[in-house]
């Protein structure tokens, strides 16, 4: 299957990509929707919506030990999804892919399991300073409950300095775990995780990457990078809600205990004892979200079918347009985008205007952006900010939309300050 690949010029191809996303034909407040809140959740291509629908119309059944045709069909689609995800992120083995409820669930599960098997009082966990709450609060809870220590790596615009700081922090703090985001959902900053993984490997520090944003904008190869854990959500990757992934490198399967207990993850249960199944099953208790897996499978296939790389390259092109256009808007400032590598996310703030007012007026003009702290309060506080307006792009966005957004921003500022 291939979609849109033979179409040129580029804007016609973008047009074709857009045609696969039904929500793009929606109007809000009587105006065509300009959806620039992709970092919160992506729109879903028709194939994904139909895969979910078809699953419920046809194959819907439980997977565990189902000895009937529907159960077989469900099991097949569920395990096919696991294979597709393994391939997508370059896992060495299919059983390294654990389905969870989402990124937040993945990181919580990992933190809990590590707290029972690997982390001890006084151990240092090294995070970056621009983590999302979902990669801070689970570790904060461990720090409060069992006395692990959190140290935050500063992230300069220059990759060399980031890598150097990492080495210094590892030397100084001897962390037992490095847990960093692949890319910031606030600024779009992409961390040099290849080089960071190299350093981590050199010092033998296990490394977890929060891929919630990164997986959406990069071809990642977890095996090649030697990552220990990688977490992401389906709903930001054009797939359904309610399902996510935790990649657990095989060598951890014997170390890391299960994090949820119940049906489907056991080998044998007595009233007073239990033994667990092998990975991935030991990490997946209860009825899984098979419809979600069917949709995620469709999302991965969709991305392959449009030659996703071209979409990713186009996103970078669109990002440059966005940065250039937004820089020209009077009265606002951009976070970052000065030097380092960025994903197509731009946060702006207007010193004289509240971000909430901006988003409300832009919404009236049909532009969906997000205003607030974006679950990155500590870093925002460090910058002395309460919030930003965040514009986050996907490959189905157009230059016209970006320009319309900049205009809407301009007009909103005028209305509010005029």
């Amino acid at each position: 299957m291939s979609y849109c690949v033979d179409i040129s010029p580029l804007d016609k191809r973008v047009e074709c990509w857009r045609s696969h996303f039904p929500q793009l034909r929606r109007k809000v407040h009587g105006r065509p929707l300009v959806y620039l809140d992709n970092a919160a959740t992506s729109l879903k291509p028709r194939d994904v919506i139909e895969a979910v629908q078809q699953y419920y119309l046809r194959d819907n059944a439980n997977v565990h030990r189902a000895n009937h045709a529907l159960g077989h069909a469900s099991t097949t689609v569920y395990e096919d999804a696991r294979k597709a995800v393994a391939q997508l992120i370059g896992a060495a083995a299919t059983q390294e892919i654990i389905f969870t409820g989402g990124t937040t669930d993945s990181i919580n599960a990992l933190a809990t399991a590590l707290s029972k098997s690997y982390l001890q009082r006084g151990d240092v966990v090294l995070l970056s300073e621009l983590e999302h709450h979902s990669n801070i609060v689970p570790w904060l809870e461990l720090s409060q409950r069992m006395g692990i220590q959190l140290v935050y790596l500063p992230i300069a615009e220059d990759d060399d300095r980031v890598v150097k700081a990492l080495e210094e922090h590892i030397e100084r703090h001897r962390p037992r775990l490095l847990a960093v985001t692949h890319a910031s959902n606030l600024t779009g900053r992409v961390l040099p995780i290849e080089r960071m993984a190299e350093v981590a490997r050199q010092y033998e520090v296990p490394m977890m990457v929060d891929g919630a944003q990164g997986v959406v904008h990069h071809r990642i190869d977890v095996a090649k990078l030697g990552l220990d854990f990688y977490a992401f959500s389906s709903h930001k990757l054009y797939g359904p809600m309610g399902i996510g992934v935790l990649y657990i490198r095989k060598k951890w399967h014997d170390v890391l205990p299960p994090f949820r207990f119940g049906g489907g993850m056991i080998d044998e249960v007595d009233y007073q004892s239990v033994s667990y199944a092998q990975a991935p099953y030991k990490y997946e208790a209860g009825t899984p979200h098979v419809a979600g897996a069917a949709g995620l499978l469709a999302a991965v296939r969709f991305l392959e079918s449009i030659h996703w790389e071209e979409g990713l390259a186009y996103e970078q092109q669109l990002l440059r347009v966005a940065v250039d256009t937004l820089r020209k808007v009077d009265g606002i400032r951009l976070l970052g985008h000065e030097g380092g590598q960025y994903d197509p996310i731009v946060s702006v703030y207007a010193p004289k205007v509240h971000h909430y007012d901006l988003a409300v007026l832009m919404d009236q003009m049909g532009v969906a952006v997000r205003a607030g702290h974006h679950c990155v309060q500590p870093y925002l506080k460090k910058l002395g900010l309460k919030g930003t307006v965040r514009i986050s792009l996907a490959f189905y966005n157009t230059e016209e939309e970006v320009e319309y957004c900049a205009d809407a921003l301009k007009r909103s500022i005028q209305i509010l300050t005029g």
């Binding site: 909430y356 009236q364 205003a371």
Partner: protein, 144 residues
């Protein structure tokens, strides 16, 4: 004081509804709200204490109530201008009425003016949080 209070709550609400529904264009309606925000005196910084914060708003909204004679007087502020305008409108609506009147009154302006739809509330609706806070004040002053 009651003799100063010429209009009942229902009447005042109708005026508010008429004011807002006068506008055909969303822009004009918002301009009106923004102007309300700009005209609002707000609260001095010293009075913007955390206990006056209305939970459930995306911007910070403070709402203060005082009893003057038999009636309550509300004052409000926000760090964002649209919520400030809305809070001011609501404060003006309810000010000058007794706790009993306020508690007996069922507001309909949120629906009738389309404010609910336009103010894209979050999970904890900012507008209804303000209205709830008004009720809480009325209750507290009634029993006090």
């Amino acid at each position: 004081m009651p003799e100063v209070q010429r209009m009942g709550l229902a009447e005042k609400e109708q005026q508010l509804i008429d004011d807002l529904n006068m506008f055909d264009e969303w822009m004009d309606k918002y301009q009106f709200i923004i102007d309300m925000g700009k005209e609002s005196e707000g609260l001095p910084d010293a009075e913007k204490t955390d206990d006056l914060l209305v939970k459930g708003c995306q911007s910070r909204v403070w709402l203060k109530a005082e009893k003057v004679g038999d009636v309550l007087v509300f004052r409000s502020d926000s760090d964002a201008i649209i919520p400030k305008g809305i809070a001011a409108m609501i404060a003006r609506l309810y000010s000058g009425h007794t706790p009993e009147e306020i508690l007996a009154f069922r507001p309909t302006f949120v629906e009738k003016t389309g404010l609910a739809q336009h103010l894209t509330p979050t999970r904890a609706n900012g507008l209804s949080a303000i209205l709830k806070r008004i009720q809480q004040y009325a209750l507290a002053y009634k029993t006090a």
